[in-house]
Symmetry: C2
Subunit: 488 residues, 2 copies
């Protein structure tokens, strides 16, 4: 068992790249079987040692106290023996290394960049290539890339692979010790000793692999010439990204093979949100969310809607039915807007004809259904009607279809990424949305044995059932149809 202690004292050189800006807690976790064995910190060649269990910061002491309180005596003894062994091994390794390092003619090609060198001291004029832009067309070119070390695979003393990740893209960097390339065995060791999720600059030449690469998004490799660590992550992170990115199918497959994979619980994910956000699915989810908003805005703007922002601190509840969050506004009672409804209507009355708003909506409901949230981002639209509310239906229809189309055509990579961790059926839709009258809907339910009062509301169960019935009746026989029903 490993004790993952998160240290606030981590080498934090750049608040923008620091993993630990927002999280502070102490967790115990099992190491993943697929996690590479980490070298003891003293084996690294950092000019500035990464934090180790031996340092005596107050955070460490607290961690030791807390872990001592929760671990059994037997476990503590085990851990002590392990720590002793590791320390001896580290000492041995350090003794072996030091003379070699001193003699390395290529020492300038790797190392940790001192913190003072990366804090707005100079503009080098270098330009970093985006990992996502690396493709076969770049073969033979020398590039500089920056990314997080997602995987580090030592092959031999003379060879290693480092996979660098930037947002949703990953690329394999190859280190082969050779005097021609300026790569020493010490440099290979430096690379393999990097901790996962460290921020690293790599200079190298783009090459084409002999076989397609399965583990990275980019189908090229970088033949490393130089490698510098900008910001070293602590050796053991509270979340292993490989664990956090697994699908249910992977867990099942492992279980059938008698293996047990680490599951990252929801609490851990939320406590270390900045790390959990790095999983491919989470990278994709918020990009898709952004695209939904973009297309929502783009479509409505093209239909002469005006984007507005309405007050969220208001003096009375904006809608009946829903509970409000109450607060004091300069001593006067106020509440948070449950809806922009009133203000949207004022804008319409005010001659704006068509308006929309994208903004937070607050509902003090202690509910647990998937339809209610205390705080959510509302995509709201309001428009004048000339003569029939079908005019609104047509706008909504066109809006949804344009969003679906946009996501299908322009977010393929994101959708595939989510699909790998959370499989879903591909979205299909009718170009012209199906419209049913309320009577037709109720009739369909009646024929299927569910009686609804002629003017009554549909409850959740009846709505779901109607959805299934519509799917059965109107579905394309060869394709699954996702649909919107406008009950009119």
């Amino acid at each position: 068992m490993l004790i993952g202690v998160e240290l606030r004292a981590c080498v934090c050189r750049d608040k923008d790249t620091c993993v630990y800006a927002s999280t502070r807690s102490i967790r115990r976790r099992r190491p993943s079987r697929t996690e590479p064995r980490l070298l003891p910190p003293s084996a690294t060649m950092s000019s500035e040692p990464p934090p180790t269990a031996a340092s005596a910061s107050p955070a460490d002491e607290l961690a030791t106290d807390l872990s001592a309180a929760t671990l059994s005596k037997k476990q503590l003894k085990k851990d002590a023996r392990k720590a002793e062994k590791a320390e001896k091994a580290a000492q041995r390794q350090q003794q072996q290394q030091q003379p070699a390092d001193a003699e390395d003619p290529f020492a300038a090609n790797y190392g940790d960049v001192p913190v003072e060198e990366i804090q707005s001291k100079a503009i080098s004029g270098r330009s970093w290539t985006k990992i996502g832009d690396l493709d076969a067309a770049a073969a033979g070119r020398s590039v500089l890339i920056r990314g997080a070390t997602q995987a580090i695979r030592p092959v031999s003393k003379k060879m290693a692979f480092v996979v660098l990740r930037q947002s949703m893209s990953t690329v394999q960097c190859v280190l082969v010790a050779s005097a021609d390339a300026g790569v020493s065995t010490q440099m290979v060791r430096f690379a393999t000793a990097l901790s996962k999720e460290s921020i690293v600059d790599v200079e190298g030449v783009v090459s084409l692999p002999k076989e397609p690469l399965k583990a990275t998004t980019q189908q090229v490799e970088i033949q490393v010439r130089k490698i510098y660590c900008i910001n070293r992550a602590i050796p053991t992170l509270p979340i292993n990204l490989e664990d956090a990115a697994r699908s249910e199918a992977e867990f099942e497959k492992a279980e059938q093979a008698g293996e047990k994979l680490v599951r990252v619980g929801q609490d851990t994910r939320l406590n270390y949100r900045a790390i959990d956000l790095r999983t491919p699915a989470n990278q994709a989810i918020f990009r898709i969310q952004c695209q939904v908003e973009n297309k929502f805005r783009e479509f409505l703007l093209s239909k002469d809607f005006v984007g507005i922002h309405t007050p969220k601190l208001i003096s009375g509840s904006s809608e009946g039915g829903a509970a409000v969050f109450k607060l004091l506004y300069n001593g006067q009672p106020a509440c948070l807007a449950q809806s922009p409804q009133l203000y949207k209507q004022m804008a319409i009355c005010g001659g704006y004809e068509r308006v929309f708003e994208v903004g937070p909506v607050f509902r003090a409901e202690n509910s647990n259904t998937h339809r209610h949230l205390c705080e959510f981002v509302g995509l709201d639209a309001e428009m004048e009607i000339k003569e029939h509310y079908f005019e609104v239906c047509d706008i909504i229809d066109g809006l949804f279809v344009s969003i679906f189309k946009h996501l299908t055509e322009n977010c393929k990579k994101e959708l595939e990424t989510i699909n790998r961790q959370y499989p879903f059926e591909p979205l299909q839709y009718l170009e012209k949305t199906l419209k049913l009258t309320y009577e037709e809907g109720i009739q369909m339910l009646k024929e299927a044995g569910t009686e609804i009062e002629p003017m009554g509301d549909l409850n959740t169960e009846a709505e779901k059932k109607l959805g299934r019935l519509v799917k059965e009746k109107y579905v394309d026989s060869t394709a699954l149809l996702h649909f919107i029903i406008l009950l009119i």
Copy 2:
């Protein structure tokens, strides 16, 4: 003196076009001298009489009670005499009219549309032309338009002008009694008896005026064939739009001429926001606001930023220094986010590289400077820095210049509209933003006699002075320069 009584009982046919959805109060106001004399309601030919002072709704009684309490006896007698006269005049007019109405062969070409006809009963297939789209190219075409009656000018029994407004556009509609056009004198009277801000459908033929039109935005006229009132406004609105749209220069000019124009106070504007929003300047302001947001998003999206939405209900203050609004979240203390800072940084740590947010920011500051607001819409951006914060400066620089350029090129109409009521100097900017070091700025202030501590903050006064100094030193000699200084 007129007593403006706002009635909730107004003929409210469509909540989207109803003026009074949100306002409810009783106000006294002086009539504007430029306000056209309103015909007594009984002179209108509406099948459904608009609310009059003679109707006895509870709101009227309350209004009468309240006005009685605030008016002198003398005034009351005067008003009573006036009302008596008006009633007699109305009776006379009605007697003259009724036989004529009964004989009108063109009675079908005008009138009030019954409420039940416009509530999603049928789709006529008619299409309404936007008033803003009416130009010389449309001359000779028959069009259907819908708008609010901004001005009604009777010329004679046989001729009248009605100016219709739709958002920021206005067009002059001409009624000339003629059997060929199907326009009767009764129809002309119907049009002149419409109250201002009523919603009206006009069918007519587009024609070109002999001289340029000063009072309307569109340089064409509509020769009216049919006119129907969709929703009749009450005769006297709490705000006269002409009054609400005047510039200071107009007030001064009138004062010099010995005239006194009505000023609409801030309270009245806020109490009747839905009406005040209809002034040309207010129509322009929110459209420009929307364009600023659009360009902000467009520019940052083009620079690989991802739009996010961060929580507004949080468990602790997000920044030091500023006071927070506190509230209870399911019994637990919570507060409103003063800034998306922490969440933006988590997104950057989470691998998003560059993010932005447009959303509300809450600060419980009881401040009265123009720099602090309790609730405002924040345009926030956060990005990874590769080696120097100049990278951020460059993005901000490009962002502002692109917004300025976009507004200058694409919001000409809106800027001119605002300029008419609130004159401002045209925005000018450098394509490449001026950068000064902090030392240079302090030196400039020192030379001008203002001493600042070497590492001290600039106070508001010093900032303003520096602005003036920079303008003097770096300004184009022939043009006024608006600038951003990046103090670095």
